[in-house]
């Protein structure tokens, strides 16, 4: 993740906050740069988007910059505050997205999102959420996802896409090849020398024989290249927030098997549960870090629907996800952290009640299922105020308390709905009468009894969709019983008289009991 204008964005945010009434347009009128003293001159350290558009680049003197833009606003750079702000963002991202997050000064952030997508459904959704939240808080941000940290770093800084970029698994070599040599995190002098030798893009560097180049530029050149290509591991040292409940075990011998991990997780969970009892809190999110022998850190993250400190339950949740861990050559230490905790107070006589009287432990069940099938697959239905039956049911989170909207208990509704409704052929009678017969999926249904119509008007106030284009559309619903006894819900688009209300076609929308 790359924040191209981090210093100036941070200053903007800081100065903008006390005066929320000033429109943002007024603020961004003057280009903003920060300056640092360098050999008795003042040199531009960071620029914002407006200054960059005027041609001001970091490294030129402040006097020179004033020549580009007379109204230029210059502020003294504060690298320490920048770094502290970056750490704060890293901690926030660590709580919300991924257990392994590290600041990458001066203007970047590493996130290892391997295996973290479960809480957001997909990796894309996670990245979109991250991008949206940072952009909304006024930061310009460029996110890249790739197999290796080096590749993500290069793509984030050198592909000006304006939206998150994902390099597919295994494609990082091809992506890197097209980037300029300076994308490899080399020193400026090395880049300049390489350019003079004719190396413009990384693919030329990959193809070139290694020995002569290594002789001239030292080993750092190829170390950077190998890191980006994934030949050499580049571990991310995760940033731990202080004062979070955590426990750690280091091993004399590296361990490898799932049974051993399971036992250690059990111990760690008990440790953590004891700390949580002491704090009066329960864990909502749990990270288990596996420190591998080769320096890499693997992590497993699980979430809970309600705060809990039941060590058996927490251990079981983590053990269910052990198959995502690649132990490599062995794991020499494990850490269990609870990055998100919520108050959880003990109830009196908790251990005395029987399981039947206390009711089922729904939160534990929901956690187990959600961590196995995904959070979005578990839901409760709630009523939603909508005229259209297919939109009248909302999906709520499974443990959410009941809402205020009441279910409508008057109107007959089918127990099985077809989505979308299926077209039927009808031998229709008069406009206000149900049809005498219909054909659905090649079968002929003679209608014995019917009730209706129930007229539903489209939601003409909606801004998009079919109903916005046809504000007079109506549906006439009939409940019909076929001669065999089956009851169906069929409707006609339109009121049967005026063509403006619909196309007069018939559909089957569901079946009743």
């Amino acid at each position: 993740m790359f924040l191209p204008h981090w210093s100036t964005d941070r200053l903007r945010r800081k100065t903008a906050r006390p005066r929320p009434d000033v429109p943002p347009a007024g603020l961004s009128a003057a280009p903003l740069v920060t300056a640092i003293p360098d050999h008795g001159r003042r040199v531009v350290a960071a620029v914002d988007a407006a200054a960059q558009a005027l041609g001001i680049a970091p490294g030129i003197t402040v006097t020179g910059a004033h020549a580009f833009a007379p109204g230029l606003e210059v502020v003294d750079a504060d690298p320490e505050a920048d770094l502290a702000g970056l750490r704060r963002i890293a901690l926030w991202a660590g709580r919300r997205y991924s257990p392994i997050v590290a600041p990458d000064p001066p203007d970047g952030l590493w996130l290892d999102i391997t295996g973290c997508a479960a809480l957001f459904d997909t990796e894309r959704a996670l990245i979109k959420d991250l991008h949206r939240r940072l952009a909304r808080s006024g930061l310009s941000v460029q996110i890249a996802v790739a197999d290796t940290a080096g590749c993500a770093h290069a793509v984030a800084r050198h592909v000006p896409a304006g939206r998150p970029v994902t390099i597919e698994h295994g494609k990082h070599r091809a992506a890197l090849g097209l980037l300029p040599v300076r994308a490899l995190r080399l020193e400026p002098m090395v880049v300049e020398a390489l350019r003079k030798l004719g190396f413009e893009r990384v693919e030329q560097l990959i193809a070139a024989p290694r020995a002569p180049l290594a002789k001239r530029f030292g080993r750092s050149l190829h170390r950077r290249l190998d890191q980006a290509l994934g030949n050499v591991p580049e571990p991310i040292e995760p940033l731990f927030p202080e004062a979070l409940p955590r426990s750690r075990r280091a091993f004399v011998e590296p361990i490898l098997t799932a049974e051993a991990f399971g036992r250690v997780i059990g111990d760690l969970a008990e440790d953590l549960a004891r700390q949580l009892v002491h704090l009066g809190k329960g864990a909502r999110r749990l990270d288990c870090h596996f420190h591998r022998v080769d320096g890499q850190v693997q992590a497993v993250r699980v979430g809970t629907a309600a705060p809990t400190r039941d060590s058996r339950h927490l251990g079981a949740l983590l053990c269910a996800r052990l198959d995502t861990v690649d132990p490599g050559l062995g794991v020499e230490a494990m850490t269990l952290v609870a990055p998100l905790v919520e108050p959880l107070h003990a109830r009196q006589g908790e251990g005395l009640e029987s399981a039947m009287r206390r009711g089922p432990d729904l939160a534990a069940l929901v956690d187990t299922l959600a961590n196995r099938f995904g959070q979005g697959r578990l839901y409760r239905n709630g009523p939603r105020a909508s005229a259209m039956p297919e939109r009248s049911v909302a999906q709520l989170s499974p443990l959410e308390p009941a809402g205020r909207t009441a279910w409508n208990a008057d109107l007959p509704r089918p127990s099985r709905m077809l989505s979308p409704p299926e077209a039927i052929q009808v031998t229709a009678m008069l406009p206000d009468h149900p049809p005498a017969m219909f054909v659905w999926r090649g079968r002929r249904f003679r209608i014995a009894h019917a009730d209706g119509p129930e007229r539903l008007h489209g939601e003409w106030w909606r801004e998009r969709g079919a109903e916005a284009e046809r504000p007079f559309a109506v549906r006439d619903y009939f409940q019909v019983e076929a001669a065999s006894g089956g009851r169906y819900w069929i409707f006609r688009l339109g009121d049967g008289e005026s063509p403006a209300t619909g196309s007069m076609l018939w559909f089957l929308h569901g079946a009743f009991a």
Binding site: S415, H449, R487
Partner: protein
């Protein structure tokens, strides 16, 4: 008369050996004609029950409400594991099963539905666990039956779109039901009367198959006996008991 007494005693002893109906309570339908026919006087709580409709959507819809009616008369949360998202919650509410009591698990495949069901069945205190599958094996039914026995939670496997003539594998389920929509009684005015179902008990452990014509669930989830069939004094008493 002596024969029936001997058979009843033997049945009681078999039930004792199998452990069914002793440890777990029975859930009566409130219709004497049906309850009398079920060993234990109703559906056994800690056991697996199979329910099927037919490939016709209306029959599956009827079976859904039959199931909702059973669950509506129990207390506690219900886990309903789905494969397809075609269940419409307002209809369950109309049958007395409040959607607030329901948690849906969209598991995606038959195997996952059965996996989720087994997980849910380990939690005592649930009113019931429902799983909608297209097909499932004898082994799966044995696993579910064991899990249900362990926790005392009734398990319902809803075989979606099950053909009437389909070959059925052996099952460990205690009862197997098939629900089909039946023509309802014509009213004097245009409109629809109370729905009727053809309720077939295809298999029951310790009993004989049987089928009935029933009236669909009311707002409390109770099924009823059609009025036309209530002509004898005994049946009239049943009806009063059911109401």
């Amino acid at each position: 008369m002596r024969h029936t007494a001997v058979i009843a005693e033997l049945r009681a002893r078999i039930a004792e050996v199998e452990g069914v109906g002793i440890r777990h309570i029975a859930l009566p339908f409130g219709v004497a004609a049906v309850d009398r026919h079920l060993p234990g006087g109703g559906l056994i709580a800690g056991a697996l029950h199979e329910i099927a409709g037919s490939p016709d959507l209306a029959d599956d819809a009827s079976a859904t409400i039959f199931l909702a009616g059973i669950l509506a008369r129990l207390e506690g949360p219900v886990l309903w594991c789905l494969r397809w998202r075609d269940l419409f919650a307002p209809a369950l509410h109309l049958a007395g099963l409040h959607p607030d009591r329901l948690i849906h698990v969209e598991a995606g495949s038959d195997a996952n539905v059965l996996l989720a069901m087994e997980e849910c069945l380990r939690h005592a205190g649930l009113a019931g666990v429902v799983g909608e599958v297209a097909k499932y094996s004898t082994t799966a039914s044995k696993r579910l039956q064991l899990a249900a026995e362990g926790s005392g939670v009734p398990a319902f496997v809803f075989r979606r779109g099950a053909r009437v003539d389909a070959r059925t594998d052996g099952t460990a389920a205690v009862t197997r039901w098939r629900i089909a929509a039946a023509p309802s009684e014509a009213l004097d005015v245009p409109g629809l009367g109370r729905p009727r179902w053809h309720v077939a008990l295809e298999r029951v452990r310790g009993g004989d198959p049987r089928s009935w014509i029933m009236e669909g669930c009311d707002a409390q989830g109770r099924i009823g006996v059609p009025a036309a069939l209530v002509d004898r004094p005994v049946a009239a008493e049943d009806r009063q008991a059911a109401a």
